[in-house]
Amino acid sequence: MSAAPHATDENEILMGIPLPNGKLAMWLFLVTEIMFFTALLGTYMILRNGQPNPSTNPWPTPHAVHLQEWIGAGNTFVLILSSFFVVLAHHYLHHGDPKRAIRYIALTLGLGTLFLGVKAYEYKGKFEHEILPGRIFEQLDGPNGYRYINHVRKQLEHIVEKDQASGVAKEKCVALLEDIKLNKLSPKQVNERVVGTKNVKPIDLPKGAADASGQLLSPIEGILEADSHLHLAYSIPWGNLWASCYFAMTGFHALHVLGGLVVFALMIVMYWRGNFGAEHAGLVENTGLYWHFVDIVWIFLFPLLYLV
């Protein structure tokens, strides 16, 4: 029997998804990451909306926990721009222009580093104001209230000793410290003197501060209204839960950003060694997929934490 030339089998069954292995692997990984961040963000949404008494004991507002919307918006723009640059890098590399591509990779690396720098600045602010899980005073009734008074007393002594306040704020600090030393005030009254009556949540209002309809009687100006930069603790209902969620979500997101930056740095090293060309378009595309996912997570994180 003579060997017939091999003919193409038109009925050949093609196995697997028609994607390069690397791309398929990246999508599978991203799917697991979607589940991971769904757990974090979903938990936050449920906790955020699940308070039993939102009118008297509301979830912290962004300003109450020292979140500034414009910083979050700026970080969002930084990540969107970095995503755009990754797309351009792949576009140029696919076309066969690695020099231009690596420039955009370097810009992406710079923007990612900027994002982490801004995040570090925000974390520094949280640490300085002790807005940390387990360190926030809430529930001023009971022994916790008197721990709060002692803490504020130490902070006031530090402010007065280091002369950190001036003008009206200084007078109020000195007056509050004197009243605390004389045991004249309850924890809720101390809290009221720190933040001001109109900033106190209903659950933390001292007795007699409001009438039956909730109208404030004789509201007083707080020390932090006179000088918002002073480091004085105040009650933040649900603050510890908020802080736990905040650091879990943004911390894991920042770790993911860092991971992406490591890969971008490796690409730059590859180019510097002369080993980066159009054949690496797949690598750039897969890393870009990961980076876009990180961007999407922040697109949802920003409104959840800073706006809503």
């Binding site: 994607l19 999508w27 699940g50 004991n57 969107i80 066969g96 020099k99």
Partner: protein, 113 residues
């Protein structure tokens, strides 16, 4: 240290130029959407309406990134089998848990402090 690989880039095709314009368009749209979210928050404060509008804008932004930047406009059919079950699970997890974790509380009257 060896010299970086230099490759002469061929002229861009019409399709490539089209992609380039599309990327720019999406980038500008993302910036505009971010600004819109910020404006909604400033104008409406923290209300249910602003939350709904801002969430809607966030979904639009995510869709733009996923479809254009992540090339799902061309790859959707290839990855749909992986993505669809996960997306269903994500949405349903939050909805199902929200019933007992959040919505049930709204049936109870506020308790005075």
């Amino acid at each position: 240290m060896s010299e970086p690989t230099t490759q002469t880039a061929a002229p861009y095709s019409a399709e490539e130029r089209g992609h380039y314009k599309l990327y720019w368009t999406v980038f500008i749209a993302l910036c505009v959407c971010t600004a819109i979210s910020f404006v909604f928050n400033t104008a409406l404060g923290q209300t249910l309406l602003s939350a709904a509008l801002i969430s809607f804008v966030a979904i639009i932004k995510a869709a733009l990134v996923i479809v254009i930047f992540m090339h799902l406009n061309t790859d959707w059919k290839k990855v749909a089998a992986i993505m669809v079950p996960v997306l269903i699970m994500c949405v349903m997890t939050v909805i199902i848990l929200s019933i007992d974790g959040a919505l049930a509380w709204h049936q109870y009257p506020d308790v005075a402090p």
